[in-house]
């Protein structure tokens, strides 16, 4: 017996060890491929985020210059009424320019003084006005206040302008450079947190441009989308999954919904232009229309996600409810829908996140626009975050480069907040069995 086995072994070499080793090696390689794939993805993400942050973080700071402004009672409020309307009409241009001239008493001549004013933002006089309106107690005093510098000076201060280049190749000439260095030596230059960026809408002057208008526009548009898409999407999913008979009509509808989910978004923009603007006569550039168009676009996604969430509810739940005498509708509303809700919410948030990043359909309905006023309602003209990024990326001024990246960071923060809300909601309602 043992002889026979020994004979067999000598005739047929034991290959099983080698085969097992090969299988282990194959598995190891397979895992390694997976790790490499994830590593590559993480690396891309890291590169993307780090370049955006590296380019954009400086936009959160803005160079300010200290000015000693004399808030002269006789100029601002000669009658001493402190009436806000009188205060708003005073000659702040004169007051602010006087403060600039006093800072540089040695500069004379029309041309030179005009160049001097160019160190400061064109918003200067309005900045002084806002200070007075916010705090009328300033009137009659002289106070050192920090005001925004012009965008070119901001770029200089942040080191984006090379001083060694010949004068003609620089945005800041030698004269302005001298003035800037003098201010800097006196401690009158400081980079402060850029509140303007978070409190205003678009502007042609980079130092006055802000993201709030686009942020509010995005919020209003998504609100309209959510209000339409959630009830419609959930009802459609529930009807199709729980009540609809299975016949060729429902099959046709199902195929159509799946196809619609893959239609390029610009098509929905054209539809919006034809239906909402030309037929219903709704206003151009309004979040109302933007929301409607994006709702059409995201509806298929949400219906599909809703249906698969409903499918995931075990049939035993339905059978138990029906077994104790619940009606079909009671079964759905009391048992199936609450269990499917976390999945539906996830689908909705994914759809909304997709809608947040869209610009193509909004081009057709006029939301790719320069809008200075922060929208107050869904019928006001508005723009959205991705459109603002696109417009800034296309602007010639150097200072818009960092603002473009900063706007991308704001968009990402908005997205992360939305996804976080989805995860929290899902955690709260999730049931496992």
């Amino acid at each position: 017996m043992t002889d026979a086995a020994a004979l067999l072994a000598s005739k047929r070499p034991d290959l099983s060890r080698a085969r097992i080793n090969r299988r282990y090696a194959a598995e190891k390689r397979f895992r390694l491929y997976g790790l490499i794939a994830i590593g590559a993805a993480m690396l891309m993400l890291a590169i993307l985020l780090s370049t955006i942050v590296a380019k954009g973080y400086s936009a959160f700071l803005q160079t300010h210059i200290a000015l000693d402004v004399t808030f002269d009672q006789s100029v601002i409020d000669p009658e001493g009424t402190r009436n806000p309307q009188t205060l708003a009409r005073a000659d702040y241009r004169g007051i602010s320019r006087e403060a600039v001239r006093d800072t540089f008493p040695e500069v004379t001549g029309r041309r030179d003084t005009r160049n001097l004013y160019k160190l400061f933002s064109t918003d200067l006089e309005f900045e002084v006005m806002r200070m007075v309106l916010a705090d009328p107690a300033l009137i009659g005093t002289t106070k050192r206040v920090w005001v925004k510098s012009a965008a070119d000076i901001d770029m200089l201060s942040k080191g984006y302008i090379n001083r060694d280049l010949p004068q003609a190749d620089r945005r800041v000439n030698d004269q302005a450079l001298g003035w800037y260095d003098k201010l800097d030596a006196e401690g009158r230059v400081s980079r402060l947190f850029n509140t303007t960026f978070f409190t205003t809408a678009d502007s042609r002057e980079p130092e006055q441009a802000g993201i709030l208008g686009a942020l509010v526009g995005s919020a209003l548009t998504l609100l309209v989308t959510l209000v339409i898409v959630f009830p419609v999407g959930v009802s459609a999913a529930v009807y199709l999954e729980e009540f609809a008979p299975k016949n060729k009509w429902t099959d046709l509808i199902e195929v159509n919904i799946n196809n619609l989910a893959a239609v390029p978004s610009i098509v929905f923009g054209l539809l919006g232009l034809a239906v909402f603007l030309n037929f219903f006569g709704l206003p151009r550039s309004a979040p109302l229309v933007g929301g409607l168009v994006l709702a059409l676009m995201t509806l298929p996604t949400i219906i599909i996600a809703g249906r698969s969430a409903l499918k995931a509810v075990p049939p035993s739940i339905r059978e138990a409810a029906l077994g104790v005498g619940a009606s079909h509708m009671q079964t759905v509303t009391h048992h199936v829908l609450p269990l499917a809700m976390p999945g539906m919410l996830t689908g909705t948030i994914i759809g909304m996140a997709q809608a947040l990043g869209e610009t193509a359909p909004l081009l057709m309905i006029g939301m790719v626009a320069f809008i200075v006023d922060i929208p107050g309602s869904i019928t006001d003209a508005a723009t959205v975050l991705p459109v603002q990024i696109y417009l800034w990326a296309d602007a010639p001024e150097r200072a818009f480069v960092e603002r473009t990246s900063a706007a991308i960071l704001v968009l990402l923060a908005f997205l992360i907040a939305m996804n976080l809300a989805a995860i929290l909601l899902r955690k709260k309602f999730e049931r496992r069995w």
């Binding site: 309005f126 502007s203 042609r204 709704l282 790719v368 626009a369 320069f370 200075v372 296309d394 602007a395």
Partner: protein, 337 residues
């Protein structure tokens, strides 16, 4: 409960639609992306310094803007359209057919520059050389052949021995339209034997598609970045981008003339075009502020040689033209073609 919700929703919808039907008190401007930076700067100043609302400016391209503008009269149609070229006869006819009276305002010039990185030597080209470098078909030995030139030095020995690699705007862009007309068509005339082979007017507009000309999209900032990374490449874009990036790139001389502010303004630099905006006369007095907007745009503090639009890269019209156009536009003189 459900009925109540329904009524509420219906009420909300009615309010929203009624709000939309209210009279518009904000100027709406559409049109060219080249005029967009100037138009928005005027709109912003206008909103800040007057009691009117800041106009909404859309960047739709010259052609798209004209289409919207000429579609009709009423609140749903824009009041002003910007254009980086003059209105076409066909567009004018559409406008007239829809009962629209137009006032034309020429606002200034825009130079189109060819530029490369500062790391490479400055180019000096003639329009004929530009044509030979970029045309799809060029004349050679009395025949029309596919463009054979690979290096700049193949065209003329004085040019550098580098590969022809030009980044430019796509055909949908107004800058491209102007470039082919002002540089290619004019260059065509300078090339010997081109006319005899049927290369004239539109036939000169075709740009080679063998990889030497690269369509770089509408974003001029992107072209500037690419030029910086690749010193051998040449880019085509508007003067304001050269002005803003003079530390990184340099403009090529065209027919011996530098692309400089004064030389473009005086018309010596050959590749420059006029910029316009068009006002819908029927809306003046109906939508508040249109007349005041036109006045703001045509004020010396805006479009004059020291105005804020010059800071944004606009090249002003000669003094006499400005005075004439300012007067005629304020009277809203009708355009006829």
């Amino acid at each position: 409960m459900i009925r109540k919700t329904f009524i509420l929703a219906a009420a909300a919808a009615t309010v929203a639609f009624a709000g939309a039907a209210e009279a518009r008190d904000q100027i709406r401007i559409v049109g060219s992306s080249t005029v967009f930076p100037f138009s928005t700067a005027v709109a912003e100043t206008f909103g800040k310094t007057t009691s009117f609302k800041t106009p909404v400016v859309e960047s739709t391209g010259s052609g798209g803007g004209m289409k919207l503008f000429c579609a009709g009269i009423g609140e749903n149609h824009p009041d002003i359209t910007n254009a980086s070229r003059r209105i076409k006869k066909s567009e004018f006819e559409t406008c007239t057919k829809n009962g629209i009276g137009i006032t034309e305002v020429k606002v200034g010039f825009d130079g189109i520059v060819l530029a490369n990185s500062k790391a490479a030597p400055q180019l000096s080209l003639t329009k004929g050389q530009i044509f030979l470098a970029l045309a799809k078909k060029v004349p050679m030995n009395g025949k029309l052949v596919d463009n054979p030139y690979k290096n700049w030095s193949d065209i003329d020995a004085s040019l550098p021995k580098t590969k022809i690699e030009v980044l430019g705007p796509p055909p949908t862009s107004g800058t491209r339209d102007a470039f082919v007309e002002l540089a290619m068509e004019a260059g065509c005339k300078e090339v010997k034997g081109a006319k005899e082979l049927g290369l004239a007017k539109k036939a000169c507009h075709e740009i080679r598609e063998d990889g030497a000309f690269i369509e770089a999209g509408e974003n001029d900032n992107l072209i500037v970045q690419k030029l910086e990374a690749n010193p051998a490449a040449v880019g085509i874009f508007g003067f304001s981008f050269l002005d803003q990036n003079a530390d990184k790139i340099q403009g090529a001389k065209v027919n011996g003339v530098e692309p400089e502010f004064e030389l473009i303004a005086s018309g010596k630099y050959g590749v420059s075009r006029s910029l316009y905006f068009y006002v819908k006369q029927q809306h003046v007095g109906v939508i508040p502020g249109i007349k005041e907007y036109v006045t703001e745009f045509t004020a010396e503090k805006a479009w004059g040689p020291d105005g804020y639009l010059v800071e944004k890269g606009l090249i002003p019209l000669p003094d006499a033209d400005r005075a004439k156009i300012a007067a005629s536009s304020r009277n809203l003189a009708p355009l006829s073609m």
